[in-house]
Symmetry: C2
Subunit: 235 residues, 2 copies
Amino acid sequence: MTLPLGERIRAEVEARIVSGELSPGERLPTEAELMAHYACSRMTVNKALSALAAAGLIERRKRAGSFVSRPRVHSMVLDIPDLAEEIAARGQRHQYRLRKREITEGPDSPFGPDRGRVLSLAGVHYANDAAFAVEHRQVDLTAVPDIEFVDFAEQAPGSWLLRHVPWDEAETRIAAEGADAEVASWMMVAPGTATLLVERRTWRGKDSITFVRQHFRGDLYDLVARFGQSGARRS
Amino acid sequence: MTLPLGERIRAEVEARIVSGELSPGERLPTEAELMAHYACSRMTVNKALSALAAAGLIERRKRAGSFVSRPRVHSMVLDIPDLAEEIAARGQRHQYRLRKREITEGPDSPFGPDRGRVLSLAGVHYANDAAFAVEHRQVDLTAVPDIEFVDFAEQAPGSWLLRHVPWDEAETRIAAEGADAEVASWMMVAPGTATLLVERRTWRGKDSITFVRQHFRGDLYDLVARFGQSGARRS
DNA sequence: CGTGCAATAATGTATAGACATTAAATCGAG
DNA sequence: CTCGATTTAATGTCTATACATTATTGCACG
């Protein structure tokens, strides 16, 4: 029950911030003051405050002190898991069907000029036989040569990539878009139906690995993001 | 240039993980080994590994060692800033116009039975005179009594809340939805046009403070989420 | 052949001190 | 009064050490 002193310091300062007792911009006690207050060594205080700083709750400036962070941006953690796993986790049966496969070559590659050959895949994701997402993906074959010989008739390329290619950095764009003719026919909805569009670009070092556009049926799929204080809460 | 030793250890181990040299589930060197390798004290190694653990890249088990984290969830940081600020940051003029205001009372409050009076607001956000978002918001007057007397004819309630009410926890749902009659007429688009729907519920302690539904014009607005390694990178 | 207890190897937390770094504050010369 | 140099108060990093905690391993005993 008695949680470690460092954790306690961190939690108490955090509580004073989120309760509004310390408002944004306000200066909080120096390490020396906290050290006296808790009767502990400076390292302990420092670790607690450093953790709060890493979590973005406070900012620390030498010679000046520590301050409650200013703008309180709504910064949330968005989980975008593997579709196959997510559907399975809901107790539904996931299926992927490939609809198009093409390899292009040339200077007008989406991954930059002269990046070489590019694999383009288009397919549909099903949950219990209902089409709920259409996926267009392009993969840089220079960065991921292995993928050329993988059979995607059944397995989704996202699942394969997630397991075989480590990545560095990713950027996701989320928007709403009316279904175009192709998407509408593959998802069996009327053209113009609202879809949730998720576009993601993934890098490994400087190389862009894959670019994917996923159109989700608006009435069957949504994303949930949470913000519970300082993000990292694992046992 | 010479970054601190602890940072260097952290960065090098991290690099070995994202490069795939250490794959998920694999065990990495013990603190004692790293300590010998870098010729430094254990605290330094410990701090580096603890940071990686806090970032979710590794898991640490006593007696067993440290292991590269398993599932590699696509976990991204999504910034949902204040609309007024965001529009201003793009160099456009932001305006909010209130369209409905109502105070309800009774046991069927959206914030739970017998939470008391609820303020309902509906309005439209404009960027350079173009309507790009419709917002329906409900605020628990028991939790935020001050808001009853604020004039929202021009100022957006979200901006006011962000500045006056600290919050604890929030949950955001993102989906796509066709515009209904009211939304369509307020945004001056055809009914059924794809809109990006952002619903957010905000808590302070156990009290739910506000619930907001924002419909964005799909062609005018999107959200961007980033993932750059371990989240916390602020100077 | 288990089954429980003890040894052990790893991480978790904390201490007291040292020196480095940096930016605010102060002081001095012009 | 202003600018520049100096002081100084705060955080940043690191060390060496100590003890606590815990899950695994292996051994002894029923």
